[in-house]
Structure formats: C-alpha cells, structure tokens
Amino acid sequence: MTGDKNMMRLLLLGYLFMATGCGTGVMLVTKHSDLVDKDLRKNIRVVSIEPDVNLTKGFGSDAEMELSKSYLKEAELTKLIKEAGEACQFEMEVVDHNQADLDADYFNNLAPLKQEMMLAFFTQFDKLKDSKTSGSGRLGIKQETELLDWGAELQQLYTGLPEKYGTPYFSFQGIYRVSKSLFFINIICDLEMGEVVFSDLRMLSNQPSASNLYPLVYDSFNLFKKAG
C-alpha cells in the first residue's frame, strides 16, 4: 500500500550505498553544467513540497518514540527551509501539512511531482560526467561537487505548474536514516526545462537540531544560488 514510498526509500538506500561505497566523500552536490558561470541566481521563487523526516530504525518497539521525533523534526525542518531560503534571497513557498491544510491541487499535482523528482533523480543519476572535487566543505565534512552535462529528465506531465505557481523551480527536502547514518537531501527541478537542475546530498554528523540544521539548509540553498 505504501509501495511508492517504500520504493523511494529503496532507491535512496541503493543510491546512498553507492555514494558512500565508492569512497568519494559523504557530501555530493550536482548541478546542471548549463547553469555554471552565469549570474548569481537570486530573487527567484522556489516552491518546496512537503519536506520529509524519517529517523526510524525500523518497525521495532521504539517506533512511537522515533516516529514522534521525526514528526517534530519535520515541523522544524519545514520552518527552517523557509527561513534559510529567504536568507539566500529566494522567495520561498513551502507547501506542507504542518503549515496549512493541503488543497486538491496538492493531491493532483504537487504530491505526484515530488515522487517524480525522486524517481527521476535516483533512476537517472548514475550517468554523471565532468566531475570535480571542491575540497573540504565549510561544515567540516568532505564534499564533492558533480557537474552534469544533462539533468535528470522529468515527465512532461507537470508543464502547467510554472504558470500556476509563478515559478519553474520546485523542490523537495528531506532527512532520512539509512542504515546507521542520517542524510539530508535537497533536490530542485526546473519544470520549464523539465529537468532536475540541482541536488545536494549530505551525511549528517550529529542528530538534527535547529542549530545544526539551519546552516546546513542555508549552505545548500546558497550553493544553488551560486550555481545559477
């Protein structure tokens, strides 16, 4: 019944093992190469769809405690995304059930788009080219930047959304536990291009809290701004 959700987790799991297994680092940022060496991207509108936090270790007897923690962190992350995005001079719209009741458009378009972003990104990711390593990250973790000569292509089912929301940029952020590690992910797509244009995947060294999540989310959006 939760097949789609489980599929996402499986894809994420598979991908993360691939990323960590190759020993290239724990942070991976991908940008569409078309976007490099252009002006800074700022004052644009970005729609963030239903951030996810899942800290559970499985379906064990501590489920309630872990799920409750995830629930509280999810509300926290939602708030931080808006604040950090705006601090990077983006106009942020976070569509999330913690912020306001969801409407029919969310169920018809945004929820499927979120799934599409994840599916497209994780199933098309393994063809990266022209990669370069940008050295140690500002947050004290090793990071690697990958430049793609093409972005993960999305289905042509969501072309009406840019007009409706006044922006081609739609994004998804989440924190997931994979094995013993926690990861933060930020995927941004451009629906006019029909591609994933930016993605950022980082391993968290500590349990997520407001104080350590904010710089992380800010840094991620800042990279997107500079990628523009």
């Binding site: 019944m1 789609d4 489920a63 405690m65 799920l67 499927p112 799934q115 006019e192 291009m193």
Partner: protein, 469 residues
C-alpha cells in the same frame, strides 16, 4: 430477430460513444474540499488510539508500536496523492458501500471507503477502518455485485480485527524466534511459513464473514463466487492477453516479426506459469477453488441483482478505469507495462490518440534509459510475481538492448494508423522517440512544417527564454 438487431445496434452505438469519449481522455482528478480523513494528524490519532486502548487487548508498548506505525504509514499514504476524492469513482464506490451498510446496520461507524490510483488488482483494509479499492481491481470486476462482495470481504477483515490479531501473532512468533531460553527456537523460514499460513486463515475467515454481510444485501449471491474466480484469473491473465501485434507491424521490421512469432509461440505454449503448488505455498491467500467451495453458495442463489446503484455508471467507470490505469502506470514509471496496456487497449479502440501518444511516450522512456544510461531494464522473475509470467514483457525487455529494433518498434503505433500528423502530442512523442534513436531531422522537419507553433516549438521557446535569463 429485428429486436435483437436493434439491441446489437444500440449496444454498439453506446460502446462507440464510450470509446470515442476516451479519445479526448483527460486523467481523473480530485475535486472539491479535501476530506478530513486526508488531513488527520498522525500524532493526535496515535495519542487518541492509545487512550482508547482496551487494557486486555494489547500492552501499552505493543499499542505504541502498532498504533504509531499504522497511523504514520496511513497518513503518509493519504498524502501521497494516490487516493482519490471528490471524483466519480469515489462517489460510485461510496454508494455501493452505503448499500451494504444499509443492509448491515450493525457495521462499525469507523468504516470509510476510498479508491486508489494503484494499478495492482487488490483491495485493502486498515486497522482504523479505512478500506481501499485499487483502480486495477475496479477495471477487472464484471459487475457491481462482485464489487460489493469484495467490499464485504474487506469489511470482514476490519470487523474481525485481523490487523491487530496478525500483529499479536507476529509478536508471538518473534518471541519464539528470539527467546534464548527456549529449547527449540523458530527459524526465520519457519516463522515466515507460519505467518503465511495465519494470513491464509484470516483470508478464509474474511470470505465467510464477508459472505454473511453480502447475503443481507439484495445482490446476486452467485457473484461472490464469480468475484473470487475473477481474482483467481488475475495472476494468469492480467498481462497475458493476446495482442494482435501483426496488426501494428509494417513490412520491413524483421526483428519485430521474430518478436511477434516468439510472442505467439509463448502464448501457444501457455503464457502463464504452471506452478500453482509453489504459488500456494508462498501465497498470503488460500487457493481460489477452496475459497469458492467454502462459501457453500449452493444452487438457486442467482435470483438477486447484479446492479443496485447503477449498471451504466459501473460500465462507464470500469471502461474509464483502464485509461486512468494507463496514466497511473506511466506516472509511476512502469513503462513496459504501460506500453503493453496501451497496445492491448488499442486493439479495442483503434486510433485513440491518447493511447497512441502514451504508448510512444513509454517507448521514449524505455529507449531513453538505453541511450542515455547504457542500461537495459533488468527484471528478474521476482519482478513478475505480482503480474504473472508474461512473454511480452520479457521480450520487450530483451529488445531494449537493441536500439535499431526499438526504433522499428517506435513505428508500430503510427504505422498502424498512418496518420501521426493529426495530433500534436502524438507527433511530438514520435519525434522525441526518433530523436533518441538518432534520426531526428527528418521527423522534426515534417513535424515543424505541420505544427510551426506546436508543442515542440513551445518547448524550444521556453528553453531559449531560460538560457537568456
């Protein structure tokens, strides 16, 4: 005789109208206000469940585990966009459900029913009384009475508290597996088989209890057995229907001729697996014949109605469900199966622009994966567990390694009608496909002559604007 001809004529006319209506098919959308069940807070619900917990039912710790897991999973499912609301499917299924409730006034008030976009032919019942009917099941059932029986079966799962009982049984098995004080602990395999056996017992019980609810309604009781028989056919037939591939073929595609021959041979040898013994052993459900037998339907029961809410609505929705399922398959990236269903539906609805465009779009993504990622779709036998063995899907998978064969394949749908230029989306999909197969100029040139301001032109314009920004 004249009367019979009239009937045939009107039936033909009605079918044509329904099918023609699908040529301009737009996927079913949710409408109106979002129901409260979609917005229910999982934390509040878990707290409420814990405070209402019966002391002799579950320990607090077990309650915390069961309620939290099920409420969070349900909330995530409801927010995933796969459950319909405010649409024609939901409205119709709700009416059938109300009919059952009217005949069975003692049913719990917590029961709610929904339709999902999921293509797998299944229905499910959750701990809190939420019942889900998948689109894939709706498209396969033959009449309203069969749908009513399926709903009764799911109601029985809830009323008999099967999810709570299964959870408790699972906890017991876990103890027997992990308790070091026991002389003989259960192995993983033993626990799995015991779990499956318990699940089959629950299914058998849901059949019998569901049949009791069904008996109280005015529906034809024989349809309970027919519904089960239909469910039994699913595994063998859902993706093994005979395709008139030759009707889509041109003269030059040798590989496709071979493909077709291979496919026909596969069907002739019996396209479905004949491993019922093994299937039954690993199945969560008992075998269909024994399920029907246990219902003890008897003779003289075919006096009830096949339809109470409405025959026309049921048939319209059943037909529409196939098209919505094609959309759901495409959206879920199930491209081979989407392509297969498009081809199958095109046999009945030749020239349907939506199906042709979706078939081509599916082929585009199949080829995209080969071209851009140098990968074939790699499916093992286990991927086909739910859909049955299918020669067509295996062969299509094999063709993915050969881009020439796939390019030939791309011409299938358009050659069948010889009029690709009549529809922008269809032509656009065909061009994209040929673009991937490195033969872009000829088709794009023709396309742009026909549609200078069409989808491709708009796409280019957006790209240019984007680059300028």
């Amino acid at each position: 005789m004249t009367g019979a001809r009239h009937i045939v004529f009107w039936v033909f006319l009605a079918c044509s109208c329904v099918l023609n209506a699908q040529s301009v098919f737009t996927p079913t959308q949710n409408k109106g206000d979002v129901p409260e069940s979609f917005l229910r807070d999982e934390m509040d619900q878990t707290a409420a469940d814990l405070s209402n917990r019966k002391a002799d039912d579950l320990s607090r710790k077990q309650g915390q585990e069961l309620y939290a897991n099920s409420n969070f999973a349900l909330a995530s499912f409801m927010r995933s966009g796969v459950v319909y609301f405010g649409d024609d499917y939901s409205e119709y299924v709700q009416k059938v459900f109300e009919e059952i409730r009217r005949s069975n006034p003692k049913l719990s008030d917590d029961l709610e029913i929904f339709v999902t976009r999921i293509w797998k032919p299944n229905a499910t019942s959750w701990r809190n009384g939420s019942l889900f009917i998948n689109l894939g099941l709706l498209s396969l059932l033959e009449n309203e009475a069969q749908l009513a029986f399926v709903i009764c079966h799911e109601i029985a799962h809830y009323e008999e508290e099967h999810s709570v009982r299964s959870f408790r049984y699972d906890v017991t098995l876990k103890r027997k597996k992990e308790n070091r004080l026991l002389k003989k602990r259960l192995t993983e395999g033993e626990a799995m088989f015991m779990n499956l056996q318990y699940s089959r017992q629950n299914e058998a019980e849901a059949d019998l209890e569901g049949y009791k609810y069904f008996k109280n309604t005015g529906y034809d009781l024989a349809e309970a057995g027919n519904a089960l028989a239909k469910l039994g056919d699913i595994k063998k037939d859902q993706f093994s229907a005979f395709l008139e591939i030759e009707a889509f073929l041109g003269k030059d595609e040798k590989k496709l001729k071979e493909f077709y021959k291979d496919y026909v041979d596969g069907i002739a040898k019996g396209g479905s697996r004949d491993e019922e013994g093994i299937d039954t052993l690993f199945s969560t459900h008992p075998d269909i014949e024994s399920r029907i037998k246990k219902l003890n339907i008897g003779s003289g029961t075919g006096t009830g109605k096949k339809y109470i809410v409405g025959q026309t609505t049921f048939l319209e929705l059943k037909n529409r469900a196939w098209y919505d399922m094609v959309f759901a398959l495409y959206r879920a990236h199930e491209y081979e199966q989407c392509f297969y269903q498009c081809m199958r539906l095109l046999q009945e609805d030749e020239g349907n622009a939506y199906l042709e465009a979706t078939a081509l779009n599916s082929l585009y993504w199949i080829l995209y994966k080969v071209e851009k990622q140098g990968q074939q779709f790699e499916f093992g036998a286990e991927d086909y567990e739910d859909i049955g063995y299918n020669k067509f899907l295996y062969t299509l998978d094999g063709l993915c390694g050969d881009s020439t064969a796939l390019r030939d394949f791309s011409g299938l749908v358009c050659k069948a009608t010889s009029k690709p230029e009549r529809n922008d989306e269809l032509y656009f999909a065909w061009c994209r496909l040929n673009y991937l197969a490195n033969d872009d100029t000829r088709y794009f040139g023709k396309y742009l002559q026909k549609y200078p301001r069409g989808m491709y032109a708009q796409y280019c314009e957006k790209r240019d604007n984007h680059d300028r920004r």
